[in-house]
Symmetry: C2
Subunit: 333 residues, 2 copies
Amino acid sequence: MSGGERRPTLADVAAEASVSVALVSIVMRDAPGASAATRARVLEVARRLDYQPDSRARLLRSGQSRLLGVVFGVQHPFHDDLLTGLYDAAEKIGYELTLSAVTPRRDERTAVAGLLQDRCAALVLLGPQLPTAELATLAGRLPVVAMMRTVRQRQVDVVRTDDGRGLHLAVDHLVALGHRDIAHVDGGRWLSSAERRQGYRDAMRRHGLEAYERVVTGGFGEDDGARAAGELLRHRPTAVTMFNDLSATGLLTVLRREGMTVPEDISVVGYDDSSFSRLGHIDLTTVAQDIDTMATLAVARAVERIDGAQVAHREVVIPPRLVVRGTTGPPPD
Amino acid sequence: MSGGERRPTLADVAAEASVSVALVSIVMRDAPGASAATRARVLEVARRLDYQPDSRARLLRSGQSRLLGVVFGVQHPFHDDLLTGLYDAAEKIGYELTLSAVTPRRDERTAVAGLLQDRCAALVLLGPQLPTAELATLAGRLPVVAMMRTVRQRQVDVVRTDDGRGLHLAVDHLVALGHRDIAHVDGGRWLSSAERRQGYRDAMRRHGLEAYERVVTGGFGEDDGARAAGELLRHRPTAVTMFNDLSATGLLTVLRREGMTVPEDISVVGYDDSSFSRLGHIDLTTVAQDIDTMATLAVARAVERIDGAQVAHREVVIPPRLVVRGTTGPPPD
DNA sequence: GGCGTGCCCTAGAACGTTCTAGAGTCGAAC
DNA sequence: GTTCGACTCTAGAACGTTCTAGGGCACGCC
C-alpha cells in the first residue's frame, strides 16, 4: 500500500487492450485517429487499470507546457481571492496552474526558481516585491505578468487596479455625504502607496478642497493605522481615507478606545475589501478591486505572450468600485 | 523575449564545456565522479548559459519524485500558516512541495486529480472533506496524510490537534477566572465539531459543573455565531466557548449590539487563533494549534511512508495551547 | 486490374534527464 | 613489466509520453 507497485503506464494499458502504445495515447488525448469501437475498449481498460497520465512525461515530450506558474503570498486574503479567479480563468482556456508560495521564511526569489524548474510557460506574480531589474531579467526568459503593481519596464506585463481612481471614489463618496475635512493616511513606502496618495490629492483639488488636504504617514499594518490615529486626533478631520483595510482597523480600534463613535463622529474608508472587512464587527466601507476581471485578463495576457502575440500596451488598468458599509455617514453637526 | 529561443539543456552545457552530457549531470547533481577542475569549469559554463535543470525530465527519469502534493483551501488563514510550516519542513529534508488549491469553484477531487498527474510521491491534505471511502481508495495508491481531521481508516495517516484538550484548556481558563455558567456553541456538522463538543462536556463534568452544561447548535461562519447569540441571550451564561474564531466574532458583534460589554458582562473563547483574532479590534481569547509541530510531523510521516517504513500508529495528536487576549475576564458580580 | 484516397492503426524517434556499464589513464604494488 | 585499483570520464539505454512517417486494407473510379 505504501508506494510499492508501479503506477500503470500507457504501455500497460496498450498490452492489456492489445493495441499499440501510440493508439492508447491517441485515445487518451481524445485526438482523431481511432475508431469508436477501439476507443471505447481502450477507455474501458484504462479505467479498469486506473490509469493516470503522467503529466511530466507528457509535457516533456510535447514541448510547450500548458502550464502557468503563479507566485502568491501566504496570509494575504486578497491573493486567495485572486487565486480563485486565476484557476477559473486558466481552466476556461485549457491551461494548468502551478503554485508557489511566498512565506515569511521563503522569499520570492525561491518561489520563482521553483517554478522555473517546473518549466512553466509563463509566470504570474501577485504583488511582486522583486526589484524592477530582476523582473526584467526574468521577463527576458519567459513571459511575466505582474499583478497589483506597476513596473516601469517594457518587458513585463502589468494588470492592476486604478488605485488613483479608487481614492477618487472614496473622496467622492465622502463629499457626497457632506464631508469637507477629509484626511488621508498613506501606506508609507509600500507599493502603490504613492498612487493612492496622489489620487486622494487630485480628488480633493477637483472638489476645491485643497485647503483641507492633509496626508499622514501610515503603513501596511494595523499598528501603522493606530499610530496615525494618534496624530489625527490632535486636529480632527470628519473623515479619513486609509491606505488599506488593515491599517483602517488599527485606526478604528484607537478611535473607539478614545470614545469616538464611527461614523457619527468620524467616517473611515479602507482599501482592498479584505475578507475581514466584511465581518459584522468591522463592517468597513472600502474600495474593492475587480478580482475576476483582473484574473481573467492576467491569464489572457500570459497566454497571448506564450503564443507569441505582439501586444500593444503592456499595462492593463482596471477600475475599482466602492463598497459602502457601516463606517461612513454624514459628518457631525 | 516572449518565449522564442529554447532554454539551455544539459546537452548545450556539455557542448559548450566540451564534456559529455553525463558528466554535466554529475556536476549538477553534485554527485561524486568529477574532478574539482572540471566541476568548476562546468559550473561556470552552466552559470553563463543560465542553465536551469528541467525538473520534469529529472523526475521522469529518476523514478522516485521527491515531491509532496499539498491540497489546501483558499480563504483559510489557518491553511496559510500551515503551508508556511510545510515548506520549512519539506525543505529541511530535501523534498519539494507542489500545491493545489481548493476554491469555491474548484473542489477537492479536482485538486487531488491535478496532483496525481504530477506524480507526487505522497499527498498531504489540509482538512479534507472527502468521504472516508474515497480517502481510503486514494491511500491505496500513494501515501496520504490528512491534517486537522480524524479518519477512521487504517490506510490514512492523520496529524491533528487534540481538539478535546483544546476545550479543556478553554473551560479550565474560564473556571479559574471564576465562571461556572459556561455554554458551548458547536460547529454543527463540521469536521471535529463533535470532538470539541465532547471536550467541553468532559471538562464541565470534571469541574462538577454538569448542571450548567449547555450546548447550542452553531456552525462555521459568522452568521452561525450571530444566530447562536440570539438563543444564548434568552438565558445568559457568564461565558461561552465557541467552535471557531469566525463564529465567535459573529457572536461578539450581536452581543455588543445588544449593549453588553465583553468581557465584563460575558466572556468569549474562540478556536483556531485565526489571524484576524489578533486584530486589536477583536482581540479574541482563543485556542491555538501548534502549527510548526503539525507541519513537521506531517512531512516526516509522509516521507516515512514513501520510504516504505512500517509505522506503528497512524494518528498523531498534538496538544493545543490557549492564547489569552481581551475577551475573557472574571464573571460579573 | 491498377491506382488513388480515406481510415485505422503501428513502429520508432524524440523530449531532457539519470543511470549502468565500461573505457581510458595514471600511479603504485607485486 | 605486468596487474590492479582508483579516479575521471563517456556511450547509450531508460523513464512515459507525443509525434512523424508510414503500412495495411477496403472502397471507388478509371
